[in-house]
Structure formats: structure tokens, C-alpha cells
Amino acid sequence: MADVISYREAVAEGIAREMRRDPSVVCLGEDIGEAGGVFKTTVGLFKEFGPQRVWDTPISEQAIVGAAMGAAMTGMRPVAEIMFSDFLACCWDYLANEIPKVRYMTGGQVTVPLVVRTANGGGLGFGAQHSQATENWALTVPGLKIAAPATPADVIGMMAAAIRSDDPVVFFEHKGLLASKGTPPPPDHVVELGRAAVVREGADVTLVALASMVPVALKAAELLSGEGIEAEVVDLRCLVPLDVTTVLTSLGRTSRLVTVEENPYQGGWGATLVSVVADEGFDLLDAPVRRVAGDCVPLPFADALEERVIPTVEKVVATVRGLAAY
């Protein structure tokens, strides 16, 4: 294997590793076969595993996720692709009402081991209906696990954990990270769901970020370091299970918290995290918490407008400066 791998290639590699390991893993989605996916995140799968395990579907989001659910209930481990995360709304019934409730309302009779993968987030100028960060939609639904990796190694390790999970996982692949590169992980690399990672250590402030906001937080931390402020950066990696322990432990060192979220402030995951911190970690804080989040508008098209709405390095730096002076 090459010594670098892109995030995009890591998606296909992560799926391929699991398909080699477990014959019950099958893929379905629009254009995922011969075409390799609109984001080229399934390149090579059709060639290696053939049409019996990599299925092109019609443009039928409900049928894709509904059929994946039926297959998962009866012995398969389907990996369903929803092209853009905005389109999850077309099959929201399955994500909000069917998949996450069936185990519970049947008193534990049914297991739904499936993965719904989707390209999430903005930054590429795709306009309002192809750019939203929607992981917070899923966060409102009890019964879904939510993964959102930030690096190629995590894509592979978390894909393994997601596919092996007996619970349904919504797997957010960030469009803005697809071209980013990293070291490919060793064989059988598994990143347990619900484990955040401290990706930079620092004593002055904790920045908690997810997916595309991780590199933003890291860049902000670098700039702040030049000003004598050392930020610790936590990559949350999963929203459910939510690794509160790692965040509280980090706060024990830094006593200041900033969340960096691409999703709109209103209803964003940072609100949940911050409320848990207020409940259980109030004594750890020496300053108010701050949330840098998207504005509550449909994501606009032009770069300048998009940047105005989504958190940027500058916005994070400014927020941390203000907090350090508190």
C-alpha cells in the first residue's frame, strides 16, 4: 500500500477491508458500481466484489435505506450510500422512525446492523441543497450511532467499527476533506465508536471539533500558539456515543471550552455537549463556554458568502482570544 492515502480513497479502502473479511457486507446506492460513486468514494469495489455485492440502485432514497433495513434485519450487513447528506431528508422516515425504533418497539427482537454513508458539509460551493452539515439532524434521533471522521486513518478505522456494529450507524464523510491525505493505517485497524481523540495538547483552552472543523481548529491552535495561547484540540469523531469523558478530562487541564461546529448554532451538537459540561463539569470551568457554529441560514453559494456562514480559522482565533482575556 502507498505511504499516503486520501480521505476519498480511505472510504473505499475501509469498505473493501470489511467486504473481504465478511461476506455478509454488501453495498447499495446510486452510481456506486462501475461508476465508483459521484465522489469516487467507492472506486474499485465493483471490480473486486462484482454486481452481487455492489448494487446500483434507482434514484430512490426511501427504497435504498428501507431495503438496507430489511436486509439488515435478515442477516446481511448493508452499507447504503446517500449521495449528499441533504438527501437524507428524502428518506428521513427510515432514519427517524423505522431504523432507530424497530429494536426498541419490538422489545429487542430485531437487530439492524447497517451503515448509511453520506457526503456531508459545505466549503465546495455546491449551494444550499448540496452543502449542509446535517449530522445534527441525526443527533436528535434516539437509536442512531453517528460517526464523522476527520482523517483517512479514522475513516478506515471507524468504517470497520461501523460495519461491524450491530447497531445502525450514520456515517458522515465530509466533502471538504475528501482530497486530504494521511498515513494509511495497518491492517485490521479499528477505531471504536464513541472514542474522541486529543489531536493536539495544550493547557489554556479546549477546542472540541468534528470532521472538517478539526483541521480548522488545528490551524487556529497553531496561530494562537504564536500568541502564547496553547489550545488543546479534541476531535470528537462520533456524536453517538458521545465521549463526554475525554472532553471533561481535557477541561480539567484547560478550564476553558470552545466548540467548533459546522452545523447551525441552533440545535447543533455543541449545545448538547455544553449542557452536559454545565451539568457535570461546571466546577472545571474558569470562563464561560463559547460556541463557534454555522449561522442559521441555508448555506449560500459564493465562497465569500459561504465563509461568512461557516466557522473559519479567523472566527475560532477571535473567539479563543476573547475567552483567554476573560
Binding site: E61, A63, G70, M105, G108, D243
Partner: protein, 325 residues
């Protein structure tokens, strides 16, 4: 159906009818909460279809699914205990009337979002194909579901992938309170749509258990042989309103009368008599059914109430509900 099979089907339909009557009575006594959607009048579809299926086939039903759950092996006691919020309920009292499920017998659930389970049935059929079994899947749904997007997506997917799945519409002429004919541009809301998907669409008298069994057996054999899905429209009528809250006053009296005369139980009795089965034998079947349901009511009443701690179990496969560390 030979006389023995038809007698068994008759007895099963009678058990289902009386269990639903018991559910109704228990509601009036304040022992059943929420709502129920009685299937009285639809029994021949569940029982006839089940008689044509294998025990390892999959079934997906709707909130009007008492009959399917029982036809696929759920006992009256489990069902009534579920409706009465008992710990011994079919789904530990977490499902209720609208979600009767017995996965161990292939009854993979009752879904209360209209039409949602049709793609799931297609997926279960896909899974059977992938695993190399010759199981089939069946989705039962109402006429109202034929105007839902998921219906059309499931039919197309099943057709292009040639999946072993049967879509069985229980056309009882009404959605909730609106006649299906008022909101659908074709006369037969299910069968008339089949040609658009390139699959067979058939109509059957859904109150005739023999006709249902024979039709489903034929379509099931076809699906099992790899010839793909089919859409069956079983014409029937519900004896009561849509749900508990509905007195169904919107239905013309002569229509109700005509359909009540075409009761699936009476029809089966007539067929059995024609086959030479004695009245006394039918009487014994009735008595057995009465006894089974009476015992079920007593057992469900005597069962312990649901344990509140169970509210925080079964979200995840490990049995728990934790969303954080």
C-alpha cells in the same frame, strides 16, 4: 384447500376474530390503552396468505396487523398481554397494538408509518437472494399506502432487481375516513399500477380464504422460482371504523350491509358445509376458539404489569440505551 386445511383456517380466523373482540371489550373495561385498528373482516387475507407461505418466509404488516401477527404464530395471549401493557406482552409492552412483532416466526413487524415497510420487505427478499435461500418476503398494506412514495420506490426496485417479494394490498375501500376512490385516479389502486412496473397485478376476493391461499401460493411459487415480485389486490372490508375513535358513520348503510353479509368466516363455513363437513365439527372448532381466547384473556389479565425499568433497555444491540460515556 382440502377440508382439513380449510377447517384449520376457519378455526384460526375465528380465534383472530374473538381475540379482537376481546381487545375491544378489554378497552371498554379500561384495560387496554391507546388505540387499536381492528382487522375484523380482513382475517381471510392473513390466514389465507399464511397458509400459502413457508414458516421461514418473512412478513411485514401495518398498524392494522393483529391478524397478521396471529396468523404468523403470535398467540392471542402474547398479543392481548401486549395490548394490556403486561411484562409478558409480545414486545414487552413497548410496541402496543400498532407494532405487534414476532421475529422468531418471521413476522418482522407492524409499521405505523403508512407504506414504510414495503421497501423493507424488498430488502428482506434481497437478503434471501444474497444468502442463497429461497425464502420470500410479503408486505401487507392498505389501499391508502398505494399513493405513498415508498410504495412506488419499492415496486420499482423489486421489479428491476427481480426480488422474491409479494406486495399484498388489503383494499377495504377506505383510507382513514376518505374513500380511496376519491383520491386515486385508477379504479383498482394496487392492481392497476402493476403494469407500470412491469410486474403482474392481480385481484382476489380477500374475504375468500381459499381464493387468497390459492392466489398467494401461485404468486409465491413464481417469486421463489426467481420470476420476481407481484402485486396482489385483495378486496375486503373492515367491520368497524378505522380505529377505536371512529364510528364509521361515513359509510353508506347498504354498503356496510352488503359487505357484512360477505363475512369471511361465514364464507368459509359455507365452503366447509359444501365439502360435507358436519355442522357439529364446526361447532367444536368454534368452542375451541372460544376457549383459547378466554384462557388468553385470563392469563393476560393475571400477568404482571410492564416493568418501568424496561423503558431504558433495547435501544442498542447490547440491550442498553446509553448515548454517551
Amino acid at each position: 384447500m382440502d377440508p382439513a386445511a380449510l377447517l384449520a383456517a376457519y378455526e384460526q380466523m375465528t380465534v383472530i376474530r374473538r381475540t379482537e373482540k376481546a381487545a375491544h371489550d378489554l378497552f371498554l373495561q379500561g384495560l387496554v390503552k391507546g388505540t387499536t385498528h381492528l382487522a375484523a373482516g380482513h382475517e381471510a387475507i392473513a390466514v389465507g396468505a399464511s397458509a400459502a407461505l413457508r414458516p421461514d418466509d418473512y412478513v411485514f404488516a401495518t398498524y392494522r396487523g393483529h391478524h397478521h401477527a396471529m396468523a404468523r404464530g403470535a398467540t392471542p395471549e402474547e398479543c392481548l398481554a401486549e395490548l394490556m401493557s403486561r411484562a409478558t406482552g409480545l414486545c414487552k409492552a413497548k410496541g402496543g397494538s400498532m407494532h405487534l412483532t414476532k421475529a422468531s416466526t418471521g413476522m418482522l413487524g407492524s409499521y405505523a408509518i403508512v407504506g414504510a415497510h414495503l421497501p423493507m420487505a424488498a430488502g428482506a427478499a434481497w437478503s434471501a437472494r444474497l444468502r442463497g435461500t429461497d425464502q420470500i418476503a410479503v408486505a401487507f398494506f392498505g389501499d391508502g399506502a398505494t399513493n405513498i412514495g415508498a410504495f412506488h420506490e419499492a415496486l420499482n426496485l423489486a421489479a428491476v432487481w427481480k426480488l422474491p417479494v409479494l406486495f399484498v394490498c388489503e383494499n377495504n375501500l377506505y383510507m382513514e375516513y376518505t374513500p380511496i376512490a376519491d383520491v386515486t385516479a385508477v379504479a383498482r389502486p394496487a392492481a392497476d399500477r402493476a403494469p407500470a412496473y412491469g410486474i403482474p397485478g392481480e385481484v382476489v376476493d380477500g374475504n375468500d380464504v381459499v381464493a387468497v391461499q390459492e392466489t398467494v401460493a401461485r404468486l409465491a411459487a413464481r417469486a421463489r422460482a426467481g420470476d420476481g415480485p407481484a402485486l396482489l389486490e385483495a378486496q375486503t372490508y373492515r367491520h368497524f371504523g378505522h380505529s377505536r375513535a371512529d364510528p364509521a358513520t361515513y359509510r353508506p348503510a347498504e354498503e356496510v350491509e352488503r359487505w357484512l353479509k360477505h363475512d369471511p368466516l361465514d364464507l368459509a363455513r359455507g365452503q366447509l358445509a359444501e365439502m360435507g363437513v358436519a355442522e357439529a365439527v364446526l361447532g367444536e372448532a368454534d368452542e375451541r376458539a372460544t376457549a383459547v381466547v378466554r384462557k388468553a384473556v385470563e392469563a393476560a389479565k393475571a400477568a404482571p404489569p410492564a416493568d418501568p425499568d424496561e423503558a431504558l433497555t433495547d435501544v442498542w444491540a447490547d440491550g442498553g440505551a446509553a448515548w454517551r460515556t
